[in-house]
């Protein structure tokens, strides 16, 4: 059987360059999630090297600006990659794209790995942490988040509550 294309496998570096453009996080930050290789492998498995290469080429042709991606197949793969980086979840592709790619696997969403969830970028966009992991510590939820004004604390000056944030020991 002849492969559909003889496209060389897109390299991890090229994948990360594209991922940085799609996510708004730089390659160093993406590497630091520990997910780069897993997502690179996942994308290749899900859409194949040819389609992944098509996205990378389209992005390069648009000068690295995802808004310039005109090809709808490339754009939907771009959506899937950004979705995966932000949430750890590979999403369903558009039905038309799924058909056009002739994918053999089901068009199903899945969490790439348990760590993929906890490394999701979305939590960082609002100075949060993944729900259920990387806990910031007792009482931290009482502090204003970055960019928020201070407001009066409830029970300020309440007796018997020594320590930080009114409840520490």
């Amino acid at each position: 059987m002849t492969p559909k294309t003889s496209t060389p496998a897109p390299s991890l570096d090229d994948f990360l360059t594209a991922s940085a453009a799609l996510t708004g996080f730089d390659a160093f930050e993406l590497h630091a999630t520990g997910m780069a290789e897993l997502y690179h492998d996942t994308a290749r498995e899900q859409v194949g090297d040819a389609a992944l290469g098509r996205l990378l080429d389209a992005l390069a042709a648009a000068g690295g600006d995802p808004d310039g991606i005109a090809d709808e197949i490339a754009r939907d793969i771009a959506r899937a990659l950004a979705h995966t980086w932000y949430l750890g979840v590979w999403p369903q592709l558009a039905a038309s794209v799924h058909t056009a790619l002739g994918r053999q696997q089901a068009n199903a969403a899945f969490t790439v790995s348990p760590e993929a969830y906890t490394e999701g970028l979305v939590w960082r966009t609002f100075h949060g942490h993944p729900a259920g992991a990387k806990p910031p510590g007792f009482g931290t939820w009482a502090d204003p988040p970055p960019g928020a004004p201070a407001v009066a604390r409830a029970g300020a000056g309440a007796p018997g509550l020594p320590g930080p944030r009114g409840g520490g020991a």
């Binding site: 808004d67 259920g132 510590g137 960019g147 928020a148």
Partner: protein, 642 residues
């Protein structure tokens, strides 16, 4: 060849069906008093050890929908209902699949968990007491059913439950803001969980403000009030007459989980186990006397011709994925059903017991939840800390109850997680991904613009949850039908459920209050109720659309009352028709008020254990103190005397 070992060798003093909150507390109390207790748990015990806990955590991380049952593996032998079982139809109405068979006008979207530890493994952990008037709404306001006991009868057991669960809270604030009577000088075991920045934002704008739930209605003054939690905080050295309190840490890992660290995933799983679960109580069981058998699905209660319960018949299985069961029996002087309101009713119905009043399975309740959500003007730090640390308590009591259901308002700390599936839905929406693969996709936003837009939108998400009281109605009920069996041949629950006009009027009032809250906050109200797959609880009322959710607060299926003719159990949760058969839990509650019910359930269980102890003592003396003789153990899952 010898016959299969009989786990019920000899007689037990008590059989407890279900290793959840009520069952674990009762087993603890009776075991400590010297009674031999057999606890039969239908689900698996894979969650009890630390490796099992970590596996559940990974399952949660990997779940696409982080619903309450998502960390816990499906079990074909003891299936659990799931909130994902119910989906809405495009023009309203719903479709149900899964464990429940549903045939009511509206869906029952509340779940529970059949596993060692029970549904309280995934509870939020809020422990408000019920208000004194919640126990007598019929006498006071002319609706619902009254309890055969009052707040004062239960008050000592509330304190015992607050000790058993380890409650953090501010009793003085509860007394002042909610009107709860406490004994003089009472403090909770631990200082209040600090309230969130979200709470502070609400308080700055809402405290002292007056809102009207309808034009011309009397004004109600708002006050942001901290909620008691069964969650480890800072111990209060004043507790227990100055003896203080030692928080109970994780079950299975020493010196861990003795304080909440803000994982923000109480529902469905606290990674450090700073939140109470029944596994903590089980860790303190006297194992010489309390014996736990998991993978044991009780199918019916055995009784003699005079109505005395003799024991139970149960099916023991090996593999939860492909169950093959062996039927066994166990006998005891007292049988306690503690399997969840719906499972208790199902067992009584299958066993054809306790039916004199025709109330078994009837009066099914929940706290139907209406959600409101909006965008604040500045970042509020959503998805931090416990799901809710404060509420607005002014709509729980008072004469408005004559006309509409009362409600408790929880201020959410988790953005639009419940109402809109944030933050995942926000990412998908900004990328142009719609509801499904067939829906045309928008161009989408990428890169720095995506990152910035997500931060600006998610960071400002606020929401409020209105927990409506649902009064006892006989038409809301659980029945069984042999034509709908589960994999082991046990009949599945058939649910018929609806909301009364009273509840719907409460929701209409809540919607008005919700609008007032967002107006006072200066937040953009983004609340919208539309029919669709994610809104199985959509309905129209007085020209407006509403969508409600289940709270996971199933109750009312074997209600207690003052007479045998109108109720299933007496004030001790003892079946009127069967003096040695108890049905315990939220199923016994004739009304649930607006309080998250687990604390009240725990108080009732502790109260019943006192009665069971007296029953047993009257029958015979406790077993001699000292190790019991070992019993043959068939496999590694059986726990008990070694």
């Amino acid at each position: 060849m010898s016959p299969a070992p009989r786990h019920g060798r000899g007689r037990y003093d008590v059989i407890v069906v279900g290793a959840g909150l009520s069952g674990s507390l009762i087993a603890k109390e009776l075991g400590d008093k010297g009674w031999r207790v057999l606890v039969l748990e239908a689900g698996t015990g894979t969650l009890d050890g630390w490796p099992g806990h970590l596996d559940a955590l990974d399952t949660f991380y990997g779940a696409l929908a982080k619903v309450p049952n998502s960390p816990y593996r499906p079990n074909a032998a003891a299936p659990s209902p799931d909130v994902l079982d119910v989906t809405g139809l495009p023009a309203g109405g719903y479709r149900a699949r899964g464990y429940f068979v549903q045939n009511g006008p509206l869906p029952y979207s509340t779940d529970y968990l059949r596993a060692r530890g029970g549904t309280v493994l995934h509870w939020l952990g809020l422990t408000p007491r019920m208000h004194p008037e919640d126990f007598r709404t019929r006498r006071t306001y002319g609706y619902g059913r009254d309890w055969p006991l009052g707040y004062d009868d239960l008050e000592p057991h509330y304190r015992a439950a607050e000790r058993a669960l380890g409650v953090a809270g501010d009793a003085a604030e509860q007394a002042a803001a909610v009107g709860l009577p406490f004994p003089d000088g009472y403090v909770y075991p631990m200082h209040a969980i600090p309230r969130s920045y979200v709470d502070d934002v609400f308080a700055a704008r809402l405290d002292g403000a007056t809102v009207r739930e309808a034009p011309g209605a009397p004004g109600t003054t708002l006050r942001v009030t901290g909620t008691p939690h069964a969650r480890n905080s800072t111990p209060d050295r004043r507790y227990d007459g100055g003896r203080g309190y030692r928080p109970a840490g994780a079950a299975g890992l020493p010196n861990y989980g003795e304080r909440c660290v803000g994982n923000a995933s109480c529902v469905p799983i606290c990674p450090v186990q700073a939140k109470y679960t029944p596994l903590k109580t089980q860790a303190t069981w006297d194992r010489r006397r309390v014996r736990l058998l998991t993978h044991a699905v009780v199918g019916r209660v055995l009784a003699d011709g005079n109505g005395r319960a003799l024991g139970v018949e149960y099916q023991e299985y090996e593999d939860p994925a492909a169950p093959v069961a062996t039927t066994r029996t166990a006998e005891a002087d007292v049988v306690v059903l503690a399997a969840h309101a719906i499972e208790n009713a199902r067992l009584l119905l299958v066993s054809r017991l306790a039916g004199h009043s025709d109330q078994v399975g009837r009066n099914l309740m929940d706290h139907p939840v209406l959600l409101g959500w909006g965008l604040a003007r500045h970042p509020v730090g959503p998805f931090r800390g416990p799901a809710s640390t404060s509420g607005l308590e002014s709509f729980r009591t008072g004469p408005a109850r004559r006309e509409r259901a009362p409600f408790r308002i929880e201020i959410s700390n988790w953005g639009w997680g419940w109402p809109a599936g944030s933050p995942g839905s926000d990412v998908a929406r900004l990328l142009g991904i719609g509801a499904g693969p067939a829906q045309p996709r928008a161009k989408g936003v990428f890169g720095a613009r995506l990152r910035t837009a997500l931060g600006e939108e998610i960071g400002r998400q606020v929401s409020v949850q209105f927990l409506m009281e649902q009064e006892a109605e006989e038409r809301n009920r659980v029945t069984v039908d042999r034509r709908h069996p589960d994999r082991l041949g046990n009949p599945r629950p058939v649910i018929t459920y609806d909301l009364s006009e009273r509840v719907k009027r409460g929701m209409a009032a809540a919607r008005s209050v919700s609008e007032e809250i967002f107006r006072l906050l200066g937040a953009e109200d983004r609340t919208a109720y539309e029919p669709g797959p994610l809104s199985p609880g959509y309905f129209r009322f007085e020209g407006r659309g509403f969508a409600f959710n289940g709270a996971g607060h199933g109750g009312g299926t074997h209600i207690m009352g003052a007479s045998r003719g109108t109720s299933v159990v007496d004030a001790w949760q003892r079946c009127w028709d069967h003096p040695n058969l108890y049905a315990v839990g939220c199923g016994s509650m004739p009304s649930m008020g607006t309080s998250n019910p687990s604390l009240t359930m725990a108080a009732l269980a502790l109260r019943s254990s006192e009665r069971i102890h007296r029953d047993l003592t009257e029958a015979h003396r406790p077993a001699a103190v000292g190790p019991l003789s070992p019993e043959p153990v068939g496999d590694g899952r059986t726990e008990g005397p070694a």
